[in-house]
Amino acid sequence: MYFNKNGEKVSRARWKEMYNAFKNRQELVKAGLTSRRDLMKMGLLTGAGMLIAKNGLSTRAWADTWGGGSCRTGTSGCGNCASPTTRPWMMNMPIPTVKQPIALSALTGPAPTIAPNNAINPATGIAYEGRTRAHQSPIGSNGNLPFPAATVYQVNQQVANVSMSLDLPMQRLWTFDGMSPGPTYASHCGTPILIRNYNNLPADNGGFGINSVSTHLHNGHTPSESDGFPCDYFASGQYYDQYYPNQLAGFLSDHVSTNGDINESLSTLWYHDHREGFTSQNVYKGLVGHYILFNQYDTGDETTGFRLPSFPNYDIPMMFADRCFDATTGDLVFDTFNTDGILGDKFLVNGVIQPVLHVSPRRYRLRWVNTGPSRFLQIYITDLANPTASNPFYQISNDGNLLPKPVQVPAVALGVAERSDVIIDFSQYAGKTIYLENRLNQPNGQGGPTGSVVGGGQGFLMLKIVVDQPTAVDNSVDPATLPSYYTLPSVSASPRVTRTFDFNQDRNGQWTINGKLFSCNTARFTVQQNSLEQWNLSNGWNWSHPIHVHMEEHQIIKGAPGLYGSSSDDSSNYSRWGSEYCWSGCSTSTSSGVNLSRKDTVRLVPRASANIKMRFRDWQGRYVMHCHNVIHEDHSMMLRFDVATTGDTNSNP
């Protein structure tokens, strides 16, 4: 029996035909005839650009080509995807509810313990808790770190039916508390919280996902046992008590007297599943959410502190994602056997395909998170009545943590997991409709080497913003006055050790860092706690990798990428995905503009390098560095490192 890409039975003759079409395409690719124009000229591409979708061999054929298919004209399929048509702008953009704490006594199950609760739960026959390591000292013995924390939450990971579009069936997602994105945690710096994280996910995965999870707080300065280390997964029926200290970095080391360094303040974090080998499947299935931290300056109240637009009315978190749906059933589908990266042809904001947001004509703070799985974004404000006009706005963070001061930008580029807080003054668009548009034309899940930035109105419109709400008083500070936020902590000291890391695909198509493969059981090197390190990251390959380091933020001292280039550039030019077109910081120079920032994810563009510096303070234990194209991550582009009292000086670990 033979099947086409939709799983329909076909004759062997038809299968042969599909196979030949696929082989032909390989020949074309070899001959260098890969552009739409070439293929159109030869009559090989259908009107809808569905060379492979119509005549191809299988889902795999899509991902097997370099730059084939059209990723911009999404209804015609892109990458390995050809979703059903959906009407845009039919649903309002969901804003996830803010998670409310509960009384300690209201937790389900036994009271939290410092040591993992290994007692057997008679209801499940396995241990109550999935944690394997005790909450590390000084949790429970330090006045700042009471145990249990005064603020306690309980969240439930469960399957739920969720609507992503009126034109698709309800989707059976994996959620936190029935929502994807899950509820937003709005916490305060200096106030530790404890989250009892229950896994009640079903064994029936609907085709992808594993009901064994490890929830990572991305950007958190978190002790290892609560960080969501990939192998700290816990089973369905178990809970895992995650203790988030919410302390400023340095509070136990170089800034004890001030209880941490205020310039290490965090603001826009996010949580997502990090289950070893299954992160992409579980994240794709819905296990993500926002986590926001306020402090005495970034207060969430526009009449105090930095006077940033007030939360939650004018301070709105947004998660961007792209997804693919089965043309026959309308269900969310995941390309399980794709190891290169997955592109969807449907764009979601906070879990809904192309939603609408109604706003008042005033300033808003939007917190943008790119949740992937593999797509890079470059986001512009587009007025379709005048699509070529530039509509600049203010970027106030690069990875969620406030810059020294706002920077006016024409667009923001976001690799997977990168974040940016922006301030947009909608008073200039009063009565109008504008769009958030991703103009980066990404040809494949690998992230390069071709691709370009298209003209205004020709990209993917992700969110429709209608400025039709009543006028509202605006007490927030105008970012054009360039108010100061935090000072960048100095990293000018000599590093204790400089380590180099090459991200590559060698050893027979296996993802490697420095030629070595990932294992949870092996720490590749040990960082000496509280010391400064420099890591030189290089990308020896033609693909792009957003590299994320857990536990501490870094500063990019060299090689920070800027915005992507224009559509008129040479398509074979690697720098199109590089940094020749620097808005603010170039590959070969020191950082400037928005790249003068604290980051936790650095975009490595094809054949580029970046040098970062950071201190790993306060906590110890096992952490990871990995590519945040979650497909690459799951195929082992990751390494474990440990932080301990004594470190090594392995420069090429």
Binding site: M1, Y2, F3, N6, G7, W15, K16, Y19, M40, A48, S58, T59, R60, A61, W66, T73, T75, S76, P84, T85, P88, G125, L166, A203, D204, N205, G206, G207, F208, I210, S212, A235, G277, D326, T329, T336, F337, N338, T339, L384, T433, N444, Q446, Q458, G459, F460, L461, M462, R507, N508, G509, Q510, L517, F518, S519, N521, T522, D634, H635, S636
Partner: protein, 222 residues
């Protein structure tokens, strides 16, 4: 999609041919009624239809087998690619898999099948594969080496994601993928690990697909 709406779609595309056709454009095509979809598939059925054509392969014993019916269905398994004359990564992976199989036998209460499919079906007939099995001292009855019709084997290599996206790399068989696919077919649990990693770690990863403490595979809808 009805023929009418299909025609409409093409007409729309003809107006804005190469550069324009915006999917996401406001107020583009509005179907008058929501489309009807086929009923949801079970995860297992979804995977079978998308990835597992039931092609015929030949074992190193010369037995004809069907990919889905005989090799995947109801099984926990590991799949890799090799060829008999491979001097590169194959011997390492084969030796790793021998150790992995031993570890799994000692620690896990499940049968785990290993399938090693040749990349060079035109050279590797069952006799040559038997030689390979003998040379590596493989005695396990649950470890099967497979060959088949060259075009079908090549198709499977693509379907199961073992092909390199770069055609130049892809045609060099010595650079073939060193990945291992592992899966629990009834549970639709499929993962990947790297064949030249540490055997203990490979065994641990394959164990991800095996529900702990269960003597039998739980049903898909359990």
């Amino acid at each position: 999609m009805s023929e009418l709406s299909r025609r409409k779609l093409f007409a729309g595309l003809a107006v804005a041919p190469l550069a324009g056709a915006l999917v996401a454009r406001a107020d583009d095509s509005h179907p008058t009624a929501p489309p009807t979809f086929a009923p949801r598939l079970s995860g297992r059925e979804l995977m079978r239809r998308r990835y597992f054509p039931n092609v015929e392969l030949i074992t190193h014993h010369g037995q004809k087998v069907k990919l889905y019916d005989d090799l995947l269905k109801d099984k926990i398994l590991v799949l890799n690619l090799m060829y008999a004359d491979c001097q590169g990564v194959c011997p390492t992976i084969t030796e790793n898999l021998k150790r992995v199989q031993k570890i799994l036998k000692e620690e896990i209460n499940h049968e785990v099948f290993i399938y090693s499919m040749t990349l060079k079906p035109e050279e590797d007939d069952p006799a040559k594969l038997r030689e390979y099995v003998k040379m590596h001292g493989i005695k396990d009855k649950n470890w099967t080496f497979l060959t088949g019709k060259p075009d079908e084997v090549d198709m499977l290599r693509h379907t199961l994601g073992f092909a390199d996206p770069n055609p130049e790399v892809d045609k060099d068989k010595s650079k073939h993928s060193g990945m291992l696919r592992y899966g629990n077919e009834p549970m639709a649990l499929w993962g990947t690990c790297q064949g030249s990693g540490e055997p203990d770690w490979i065994a641990q990863e394959i164990g991800f697909a095996i529900p702990r403490g269960l003597k039998k595979h739980p049903g898909v809808n359990e």
